[in-house]
């Protein structure tokens, strides 16, 4: 079977700085894959490169066999990639309802089914539905941001460090929700929180200094503490 | 002198030749050419005064003409009311220096409070327009929109003589402004241009340095204004207008921002082109519409030649040098 998302030898740059220097990743339909690595390894840049928010110098990215390098961000998004950025990226001056609505416009005929699904998944959002997003807590913003990637027919969603800055209790709830989501959606998850990554993903890729240096199943990684220490330092 | 030590022999020689050529030009040229070149000298100083701000601090001042116009008006008002002799000229210079540093101080206090390039551009545009409005309404002193013609001291009457004064003015101001850029204050300004936040972290109170830069720029611009007033024997509100500020901006843009000398090249180019086009007006009346060409030049430079002439030249020289170096290295190997 062809991979759903395939990046090969990806090199990308911001201004004068080359950030990615050869990242290769393959994700198949239905998988949940974690992207691990130290701070500054290039994980966030990798996601932004997929979205076309960072320029690609060489290498390829294919979604369902179709190249997406050089396409404008909005077209990449329309091809079925949902993006949940590190800092949530919710629109503060819009209500929760409007935040979801903007995301739903991606479909020609948006359905309410998906919206009802996320509101059941995150009841907090249902309660605050008509309120401005700036009234939400950090965890609720994360939920809103993830919801925006779920209300349309995305083939894959890219989630950037969902646990960042959240309280342990909230992270636990988030892990459950992500596990639930991964049953029906393909996920590429960037995560520093090893426990969360283990709870959600089946496979991992390791990035260091802008290159993929290792890959394998999460199970192997959990069992091999030596490997953990080598790649992730103290966890 | 430190200045000379910094230059290599070739540059020094080239400058010497240039100086000699410039000194004999007036004896072989038409009066109109002499006036044109005097104008280039003076507007080069005006352009450099703008470059101090724009090039070295990144701040776009759209009210810069208020210093230039004020210099011309102060000269005109003084010569008209107190007699046209050198003592009055000296007074006008002193008053211009005081006025411009004060005006720059007030402008700086309003503009340099946080904000940014956008806010500064909008606010300085408003300030400049206000000064122009005041000059237009204060008819008893400025003669309003009609403009103020005035008599000048006898020493400045001779066009050839004034040519040399303008040249000396340009040389002095170039040296002074260059020394300012090389001074500790100037270096901080450059650091601000590179990265304002970092300069702040290093403990520099950036707004204080910018204020000093603005004052130096204002004074230099005011002095150029005096010379320009004397050259034309006339001051009007156009000298205070946004258009006049845009002149300085175009001069620095064409020459190359942040290069100081770029303004000299820019002034020569812009004024020569303007002169050439105006001479074509008998061919077609469209050539009288200098502003159309002026605006077009602006857009073209911004889109296609943002480094300006001197910037392009520096880039070219740098490339040649690196090529030479790599060749030398290859040979060595």
């Amino acid at each position: 079977m062809n991979p759903l998302l395939k990046a090969e030898d990806l090199v990308s740059y911001i201004g004068l700085y080359t950030i990615l220097q050869g990242v290769s990743v393959e994700i198949h339909q239905g998988e949940a894959v974690a992207l691990l690595g130290r701070n500054g390894a290039g994980k966030t840049t990798f996601l932004r490169t997929i979205m076309g928010l960072v320029n690609t110098r060489s290498g390829s990215i294919k979604l369902d066999g179709e190249s997406i390098v050089g396409k404008p961000t909005y077209e990449i998004a329309k091809m079925g990639i949902g993006y949940v950025p590190e800092d949530y990226g919710v629109f503060d001056e819009l209500t929760i309802e409007e935040n979801l609505k903007i995301a739903m416009w991606k479909e020609d005929k948006p359905t309410l089914e998906k919206r009802d699904y996320v509101l059941d998944l995150f009841p907090d959002l249902k309660v605050a539905y008509k309120r401005l997003a700036k009234t939400l807590s950090g965890g609720q913003r994360q939920m809103l941001s993830i919801s925006r990637a779920l209300v349309n027919e995305n083939k894959i969603i890219l989630i950037d460090e969902p646990s960042k800055g959240l309280a342990p209790v909230v992270i636990e709830r988030l892990a459950l929700a992500l596990k639930e989501i991964s049953k029906s959606t393909t996920i590429l998850l960037v995560e520093q929180n090893f426990a969360l990554a283990c709870a959600v993903a089946e496979r991992y890729y390791m990035i260091d200094e802008g290159k993929t240096v290792d890959e394998g199943t999460i199970k192997e990684l959990i069992e091999d503490t030596e490997l953990q220490r080598k790649h992730l330092g103290v966890i | 002198m430190k200045l000379l030590n910094n230059m290599d022999k070739k540059t020094f020689l080239a400058l010497g030749v240039l100086l000699v050529v410039l000194s004999i030009i007036p004896h072989f040229s038409k009066l109109s050419t002499i006036t044109l070149i005097s104008r280039i000298f003076i507007l080069a100083v005006y352009g450099m005064s703008y470059d101090i701000l724009r090039g070295y601090t990144g701040f776009i001042n759209l009210g810069h003409a208020l210093f230039f116009g004020s210099g011309a008006y102060i000269a005109g008002i003084f010569f008209t009311n107190f007699g046209n002799n050198l003592v009055v000229f000296g007074m006008a210079v002193i008053v211009t220096v005081v006025f411009c540093s004060l005006a720059a101080y007030i402008m700086g206090k309003i503009v340099l409070r946080g904000g940014g390039v956008i806010a500064a551009a909008m606010i300085t545009l408003a300030l400049g327009e206000i000064v122009r409005n005041i000059a237009e309404r204060w008819r008893s002193v400025t003669m309003g929109a009609d403009g103020l013609p005035f008599k000048i001291p006898d020493v400045f009457r001779d066009r050839i003589g004034f040519y040399y004064y303008a040249l000396i003015f340009l040389i002095i101001m170039t040296v002074v402004l260059r020394q300012f850029i090389l001074s500790p204050t100037g270096r901080v300004l450059m650091a601000i241009r590179e990265n304002e936040q970092r300069a702040e972290f290093l403990g520099y109170e950036t707004s204080k340095y910018k204020l000093i830069g603005l004052q130096v720029a204002g004074i230099a611009s005011g002095l150029a204004g005096i010379m320009f007033g004397i050259l034309n024997r006339f001051a009007n509100t156009d000298l205070l207008s946004v258009q006049q500020t845009l002149n300085a901006l175009l001069i620095t843009l064409v020459g190359g921002t942040g290069t100081l000398y770029g303004a000299i090249v820019g002034s020569a180019f812009v004024n020569a082109v303007q002169n050439y086009l105006l001479n074509l007006r008998s061919v077609h009346p469209i050539f009288e519409r200098w502003l159309l060409f002026f605006g077009a030049m602006y857009v073209i430079v911004v889109l296609f030649m943002p480094e300006g002439f001197v910037g392009l030249w520096n880039k070219y020289m740098k490339e040649r040098r690196t090529k030479k170096n790599t060749k030398a290295i290859e040979k060595g190997l």
Partner: protein, 288 residues
């Protein structure tokens, strides 16, 4: 009391005109981070094309419509061919819009001449009402009504429509709007042109108020709009509305009680606001 009402109406009418300029300027600044120095020229083009069509057809309404259309098209032209090339580069944006301002202001002089052109108000708006000894100029009331309608219109557009939602979202996170599948560049063009059209409408309505149009009116009104945007808070629609009304009222009062101070009053106000609240009265300063 009489004079109070007259000044109120004068001030509000003036404020309505300033608002047409300032609101477009402010939204463009907020959404795209572009300070549009062509606004004064667009105002002029609005005024001149109105006068042109109005004298040609003798229809006030046609003149207004023509000015809006022509200036909208100019806005599309400016954005597509010039401004869009320099997004993200603030100094280049300022310089390129300044260059366009110079060219198109001179084109106005080339096409319509440098001397002012007189224009009368249409007969149905030219009269005055006399209520309890107070003379009320109909055209000024008309301006206030138009200004208020436009303000309500923009408010509804921003808060109730798809376009408005994208604009509000884009002011904050243009990258995220794109990552959700929306082509924000299309909206940039649209908003820039709509802002231009508002300035054009301002110019069209200004000419009959003053009784003439001349090529210096553009810069004058642009400066007023800038002052409003600075004191209202850059990028804030409410701020630009409130700032316009305030500036209009103050202008009317100063013109009556202390005409010699008229020139400096606006700038003093701006300086005072900046001294106490650098981000403007309604905050939301664009950080650039």
């Amino acid at each position: 009391m009489d004079i109070f009402i007259t000044l109120l109406i004068n001030g509000l009418a003036e404020g309505a005109l300033i608002f047409l300029m300032a609101s477009g300027l402010s939204i463009i600044l907020g959404l795209m981070g572009v300070v549009n120095f062509t606004h004064g020229t667009l105002f002029l083009w609005g005024g001149y094309s109105f006068v042109w069509i109005y004298t040609l057809t003798n229809s006030f309404v046609l003149g207004i419509l023509a000015s809006i259309l022509i200036v909208f098209a100019l806005g599309v032209f400016f954005e597509k061919f010039f401004v869009s090339r320099v997004y993200g580069n603030v100094p280049a944006q300022i310089l390129i819009t300044l260059g366009l301002q110079v060219i198109f202001t001179d084109l106005v002089r080339l096409f319509w001449g440098a001397s002012p052109i007189n224009v009368a108000r249409p007969s149905y708006l030219a009269g005055t009402w006399s209520i309890g000894g107070v003379t009320i100029v109909q055209y000024r009331v008309f301006l206030i009504v138009v200004g208020a309608l436009i303000a309500i219109g923009i408010h509804i557009l921003l808060n109730k429509t798809k376009i408005g939602m994208v604009i509000r979202a884009g002011v904050q996170r243009p990258d995220m709007v794109q990552a959700l599948g929306i082509n924000i560049k299309l909206y940039f063009t649209l908003v820039f042109a709509a802002g231009a059209a508002l300035a054009g409408l301002g110019g069209a309505l200004y000419a009959p108020l003053v009784g003439s149009i001349s090529s210096t009116a553009g810069m004058h009104n642009q400066v007023l709009a800038f002052i409003v945007v600075v004191i209202g808070g850059m990028g804030s629609f409410i701020g630009s509305a409130a700032g316009s009304v305030f500036l209009g009222l103050m202008g009317a009062a100063v013109a009556w009680y202390a005409p010699s101070l008229a020139v400096v009053a606006n700038v003093t106000l701006m300086a005072a606001v900046l001294a106490f609240k650098p981000s403007g009265l309604f905050g939301l300063a664009v950080k650039k």
